[in-house]
C-alpha cells in the first residue's frame, strides 16, 4: 500500500516498519549528546547525558615531549634540540610546520613578548593543555563545562548545545564576537554502547575556534588565529584504581601547518584540590 505523508513523499507501510526495525535493531550507533532521554521526553541535559564523570581535580603526567613541556626549550628547538637547520618536521621536529611556520618558530623573540605583555601566548587554547599543570573541572551549569588550569590561571569554557526554550530543540552555542586566547569551545558527547555485553561509554568531543594567535610551547612554536582545535576526552578507570583523563588534540592551521598536528595528553585523577595552585603565566 502506497501513501503520501504530510510532505507529499511516497511512503510504504512496510518501509516505515523497516525504518523502525532498523532503529530498534541498532543497539548503539553514535548518539551525539543523546542517551537516556526517555521516549517522548525532552533530551537530557549535557550534564545528565555524560557517559563518564569528567569533573574533579586532575594532574598532568608528562611522559612525552618532556623537555619542551617541563622547561622552556631553546629558541629554534622544534622538539629534537636546538641548532637544527632547515625544515624541522620529518627530520628533527614534532610539529608539521610549513616554511612559514618554521620561519615564525625561529623568529621567536622572548624579550619582545615580555615587552609587549605577551607572556601568556603559550597559555592559550593551543598550548595550555601542554603546560605541566593541574585541572579543576566542574559543571558551570547543565550545558557548560568549566576547565580551570592552575598554571597560567586560565579558564576554558566548553559549551554544549542547549534548548533555546524549555523543551525546545537543541541549538549550538553562538560564537563570541571577538577572538580570545581560549577561543570558543563547543562540546558534544559521542556515546556508544549500552548493552550488557557492551558497556556504555564514549568521549567528549570539543571543537575550539575563534582563537587569538599563540604558541604551542613556551619557546615560541606558533599557531595562527585561523587555528581550529579538535579534542576527544576520555576517562578510563584502571584495575589498580588509577583514573585517567586521556585526550587527543588535533590542530588544523592553514597558516603554519602542512597537515593536521595531533598530540595526546594524560591527566591522572587527584583525591582533592590541595595541589591546585593558580599562578600567573611565566616564561623562564
Amino acid at each position: 500500500m502506497i501513501r503520501r505523508n504530510a510532505k507529499g513523499i511516497l511512503m510504504n507501510k512496510n518501509l516505515i516498519f523497516a525504518a523502525a526495525l532498523i532503529a530498534i535493531a541498532s543497539p548503539s550507533p553514535v548518539f551525539a549528546q543523546g542517551g537516556r532521554g526517555g521516549r517522548g521526553g525532552p533530551p537530557p541535559t549535557a550534564k545528565a547525558a555524560a557517559p563518564f564523570d569528567v569533573t574533579g581535580y586532575w594532574t598532568s603526567v608528562v611522559t612525552e615531549d618532556w623537555h619542551v613541556r617541563m622547561i622552556t626549550a631553546s629558541k629554534g628547538d622544534f622538539g629534537s634540540g636546538p641548532n637544527t637547520e632547515g625544515l624541522p618536521f620529518g627530520r628533527d621536529g614534532n610539529i608539521p610546520y610549513n616554511a612559514e611556520g618554521t620561519r615564525a618558530g625561529k623568529a621567536w623573540d622572548l624579550a619582545k613578548d615580555k615587552a609587549e605583555g605577551n607572556v601568556c601566548k603559550s597559555f592559550g587554547a593551543g598550548g595550555i593543555m601542554r603546560q605541566p599543570s593541574h585541572l579543576h573541572i566542574t559543571w558551570q551549569d547543565d550545558y557548560t563545562l568549566k576547565m580551570e588550569i592552575d598554571n597560567g590561571t586560565q579558564t576554558r569554557l566548553v559549551k554544549f548545545a542547549r534548548p533555546a526554550a524549555q523543551g525546545g530543540a537543541l541549538t549550538k552555542p553562538e560564537p563570541s564576537a571577538q577572538a580570545s586566547a581560549q577561543g570558543d569551545s563547543v562540546g558534544e558527547w559521542i556515546i556508544k554502547g549500552g548493552t550488557p555485553a557492551w558497556p556504555r561509554g564514549g568521549n567528549l568531543q570539543v571543537v575550539t575556534s575563534n582563537v587569538t594567535a599563540g604558541y604551542y610551547w613556551k619557546n615560541g612554536m606558533p599557531y595562527s588565529d585561523k587555528t581550529k582545535l579538535t579534542e576527544h576526552f576520555r576517562v578510563i578507570k584502571e584495575d589498580n584504581g588509577d583514573e585517567w583523563l586521556n585526550f587527543s588534540l588535533m590542530s588544523e592551521d592553514p597558516t603554519y601547518l602542512n597537515e593536521p598536528w595531533i598530540s595526546t595528553y594524560h591527566f591522572k585523577k587527584l583525591a582533592d584540590g590541595s595541589k591546585f595552585k593558580p599562578r600567573p603565566c611565566a616564561i623562564d
Binding site: 510504504n12 512496510n14 523497516a18 526495525l21 532498523i22 535493531a25 541498532s26 543497539p27 548503539s28 550507533p29 557517559p51 594532574t59 598532568s60 603526567v61 608528562v62 611522559t63 612525552e64 615531549d65 618532556w66 623537555h67 617541563m70 622547561i71 626549550a73 631553546s74 628547538d77 629534537s80 634540540g81 628533527d92 614534532n94 610539529i95 603546560q131 605541566p132 599543570s133 593541574h134 598554571n151 559521542i190 556508544k192 554502547g193 555485553a197 557492551w198 558497556p199 561509554g201 564514549g202 568521549n203 568531543q205 576527544h232 576520555r234 578510563i236 584502571e238 589498580n240 585517567w244 586521556n246 587527543s248 598536528w261 595531533i262 598530540s263 595526546t264 594524560h266 595541589k275 623562564d284
Partner: protein, 640 residues
C-alpha cells in the same frame, strides 16, 4: 493464513543489512571496526625518540627505579650488533606501537558462528601477527612461553577497546637500554575518531618502574598502504680477532659510561631531570628543575644507586626461604610430544606418546603423587590414533580412539642430582605406572631406566641415597643418544661440563625440537652454581652458549626450538640469550672488582647484580650465593 508480503520481506532484509551492530558481526555487539591499514603519525610526539632514537641516559619522564637506572646506564648500543641472536628482535607490545612502522589490523572470525573473536595486529618489524583475543578466553598458565607480543585479551567499553597483555619477554621500554622486565603488563586503550586511531599504552613493571608509565600514539587510516616484509638477517658488523671463539657482551662497568651526560648538554636540561624517576612526570617538578643548572660540557657520571629496588637482596637475605609448597602441580603442552609438568620442584619435561612416557627429571620427592597425577593426565590427552598397515583397520582404529592405554612411564633422565630434580626418582620408579622397557632385574641392564651423567650417579651413591633412586645407566661422553627412537624421535643427552655442577645434562628431543636444560637455565632466577660439585661461571657461560647454538629460532629470536628450563616458564632462544648476557655482564663486573683486589665481602657490598636482582634475585639467599660462586670461580682458578 496470512502470508508476508514481498515488500515486508524486503524491509526485513533491509533492516538486517543496515543494523550495524546487531547483525553485521552476529555477536554481542561490535562497536567499531578497527580493521584495515594504518600509518603512524610518525613525528608528532617525541620525534627524536621515535625517529632517530633517544640519547644515552635520556630517562626524563620515566618512573624508573635505581635498578633500572643502573641497568640502562650500563647499556652499550653495540650490544645489539654483537648479539646475533637478539639483533633482529622486534620492539615489544607497549613500545612497538611508538615506532615508525605501518600497521595492519585484521578481523579473525569464528568460522562456525561467524562472530569476531580476535583482531590480529601486524607491524612491519614484528615476527608475526599479534592476536588480541575478544572472546573471553582464559589467560595461559604462568608457566607458558613469553613472546615479544605477549598474550592479549581485549574488551570494548563505549568507544574504547581495552587490551591487557601479559607473558611478555624482557625488552625495551625506551630503546636506550631502559628495559622492561618479563613480569610487566601492558594495558592499551584504543579509540577511533575517524580517520584517527588513538592508542594509549600503560606499562606496569613491578621490577623496574615505581608507577605506571603512560604514553600514546596516533594512527591514521591508510587504506592503500602495504606492510613491507622485514627479512632481518643478523649481520656480524664487526670482527675482532681477539674475540674469535668467544662471545662478548658490550656494556659499561659502573661509572664508566661517558655518554650519559651528553643529552643534558644537548637539550640544556639539568642532569637531575634527565635522570628521570616518577617525580619528573609531575608538574611540581618544573619548579624543582629551576634549582639546578644544565651542564655545559659532557662528563662521565659517577652515579650512585640507593633506592629500595637496590636493596632487594638484603631484604630477602634476612628472610627464611619459604617451605616448598607443591599444592599446584600442572601440566601444559610445550611442542610436539613434549609437555611440561611444573610446580613439583624443578620443572619436568615429559615425552608422551605411543611408546609411553619419558621423564626428564623426577621433581621433588614430596610432590611425587601430584606429579604422577599430572603425568597420567598428560597421557590421557587425545592424540591421533595409530592406523595399522592392515586392509580393514576399522576395529583397531575404533578401539584405540575409544579407549586409553594405561599410562606407562618408561624411563627417567636426571639432569643433575639436586633434590628438586632427582628427589622423586625412587617414588616415581616405585609407582604402579612405572613400567620400564624390559623385565626389571632381567633385561634392564641392557636398557635405560634412570639415566644420568656418571658424576650424578657417583654423587648419589656417595650420598647414600636409596638404590631405587640411583641412576641405573650412566654416560660419560660429550653426547649420549638413547638406544632407540622414543615416541617417534631421537633423544640426545648432552653433557654440559662444569656448569652448575660437573654432571649437568641437557636433553634434546630432536623431532619435537625441545631442549630440557635442567638448572643450567632458569627463566626467573639466578643460576645456583655449586663449586663444591664442580660448577663454575665459565662452564655455565659455555653451556649457555652451547644451548643457544643448539637452538634454532623460528624468527627474530623467538619460537622454533623451545626450552624447558630448570625453573620458570617455557622459553626459547631469545630468553636464553638474555640470561647468558646477564651472566656474562655479572662475570665481567666481578672480574673487574677482582682485578682491583677487592675481597668477596667487598664485592658483595658493591652489589654487582643490583640491576638484575628484581628479575632473578627473588629467592632468599640466591643473589649472595650467585655472586659468591662467580667470585670464587674467578679467584680459585677452577673450571675450564
Amino acid at each position: 493464513m496470512r502470508t508476508f508480503s514481498k515488500s515486508f520481506l524486503g524491509a526485513a532484509v533491509l533492516a538486517a543489512c543496515l543494523a550495524p551492530s546487531a547483525f553485521s558481526q552476529g555477536g554481542p555487539g561490535v562497536p567499531t571496526d578497527l580493521s584495515g591499514e594504518w600509518r603512524r603519525l610518525t613525528n608528532h610526539e617525541d620525534a627524536h625518540e621515535r625517529g632517530p632514537g633517544p640519547d644515552p641516559g635520556e630517562y626524563w619522564g620515566l618512573p624508573l627505579n635505581d635498578a633500572e637506572r643502573m641497568r640502562a646506564d650500563s647499556y652499550n648500543g653495540e650490544w645489539l650488533s654483537t648479539s646475533l641472536l637478539l639483533q633482529c628482535r622486534p620492539h615489544p607490545t607497549g613500545y612497538q606501537q611508538l615506532g615508525p612502522d605501518q600497521m595492519r589490523i585484521e578481523k579473525v572470525i569464528d568460522p562456525i558462528n561467524r562472530q569476531l573473536i580476535a583482531y590480529s595486529v601486524l607491524f612491519q618489524r614484528t615476527p608475526g601477527e599479534r592476536m588480541v583475543w575478544l572472546d573471553g578466553r582464559d589467560r595461559p598458565s604462568q608457566y607458558a612461553a613469553h613472546s615479544w607480543e605477549g598474550f592479549s585479551l581485549g574488551a570494548w567499553s563505549g568507544d574504547t577497546l581495552t587490551i591487557k597483555s601479559t607473558h611478555l619477554k624482557e625488552s625495551f621500554i625506551r630503546r636506550n637500554g631502559v628495559q622492561g622486565s618479563f613480569r610487566r603488563t601492558v594495558t592499551e586503550h584504543v579509540s577511533l575518531d575517524e580517520p584517527y586511531l588513538t592508542w594509549v599504552l600503560i606499562v606496569e613493571d613491578p621490577d623496574y618502574l615505581t608507577e605506571p608509565l603512560i604514553r600514546s600514539v596516533t594512527f591514521q587510516r591508510a587504506p592503500n598502504a602495504q606492510i613491507p616484509v622485514y627479512p632481518c638477517a643478523p649481520q656480524q658488523e664487526e670482527y675482532r680477532p681477539e674475540d674469535a671463539g668467544s662471545y662478548r657482551v658490550p656494556h659499561y662497568l659502573t661509572a664508566t659510561n661517558p655518554y650519559l651526560t651528553e643529552v643534558a648538554v644537548k637539550y640544556r636540561v639539568p642532569l637531575e631531570g634527565v635522570r628521570g624517576g616518577a617525580a619528573t612526570m609531575y608538574p611540581e617538578y618544573a619548579d624543582t628543575l629551576k634549582q639546578f643548572k644544565a651542564p655545559t660540557a659532557q662528563f662521565t657520571l659517577k652515579a650512585t644507586y640507593t633506592d629500595d629496588s637496590t636493596k632487594l637482596a638484603e631484604r630477602l637475605e634476612s628472610q627464611r626461604p619459604p617451605a616448598p609448597a607443591y599444592d599446584k602441580v600442572e601440566a601444559l603442552h610445550v611442542q610436539g610430544n613434549i609437555f611440561l609438568v611444573a610446580g613439583g620442584g624443578g620443572n619436568i619435561a615429559v615425552s608422551a606418546g605411543g611408546d609411553g612416557v619419558l621423564m626428564v627429571d623426577a621433581g621433588a620427592a614430596a610432590a611425587s603423587p601430584k606429579i604422577l597425577d599430572a603425568i597420567t593426565q598428560v597421557t590421557r590427552m587425545p592424540r591421533p590414533a595409530p592406523r595399522g598397515n592392515i586392509a580393514m583397520p576399522f576395529a583397531s582404529v575404533w578401539q584405540s580412539t575409544h579407549s586409553q592405554a594405561p599410562p606407562a612411564i618408561r624411563m627417567i633422565i636426571d639432569t643433575n642430582d639436586s633434590a628438586d630434580h632427582a628427589g622423586g626418582n625412587a617414588n616415581i620408579a616405585s609407582s604402579k605406572i612405572f613400567k620400564p622397557i624390559g623385565v626389571e632385574g632381567a633385561d634392564q641392564a641392557a636398557s635405560e631406566v634412570i639415566l644420568s651423567h656418571e658424576s650424578v650417579q657417583q654423587r648419589m651413591i656417595a650420598a647414600n641415597v636409596g638404590v631405587r633412586a640411583q641412576p641405573t645407566n650412566t654416560y660419560f661422553s660429550e653426547r649420549y643418544r638413547l638406544h632407540r627412537f622414543f615416541n617417534g624421535e631421537g633423544v640426545e643427552v648432552v653433557h654440559m661440563p662444569n656448569a652448575i655442577t660437573d654432571g649437568d645434562s641437557v636433553v634434546w628431543f630432536r623431532g619435537s625440537d625441545v631442549i630440557a636444560t635442567g638448572d643450567i637455565f632458569n627463566s626467573d632466577s639466578y643460576p645456583q652454581i655449586d663449586l663444591e660439585k664442580g660448577g663454575s661461571v665459565q662452564g655455565l657461560i659455555s653451556a649457555l652458549e652451547k644451548l643457544t647454538d643448539l637452538s634454532y629460532p623460528e624468527y627474530m629470536g623467538q619460537g622454533g626450538t623451545m626450552i624447558v628450563p630448570g625453573h620458570g616458564w617455557v622459553s626459547d632462544a631469545a630468553d636464553i640469550g638474555y640470561y647468558r648476557d646477564m651472566v656474562i655482564v655479572v662475570r665481567d663486573r666481578v672480574q673487574d672488582m677482582v682485578s682491583k683486589k677487592m675481597t668477596l665481602a667487598q664485592v658483595k657490598s658493591a652489589k654487582p647484580t643490583m640491576d638484575y636482582d628484581p628479575l632473578y634475585g627473588r629467592t632468599p639467599g640466591s643473589t649472595a650465593k650467585f655472586v659468591e660462586a662467580v667470585y670464587r670461580s674467578l679467584t680459585e682458578k677452577k673450571g675450564n
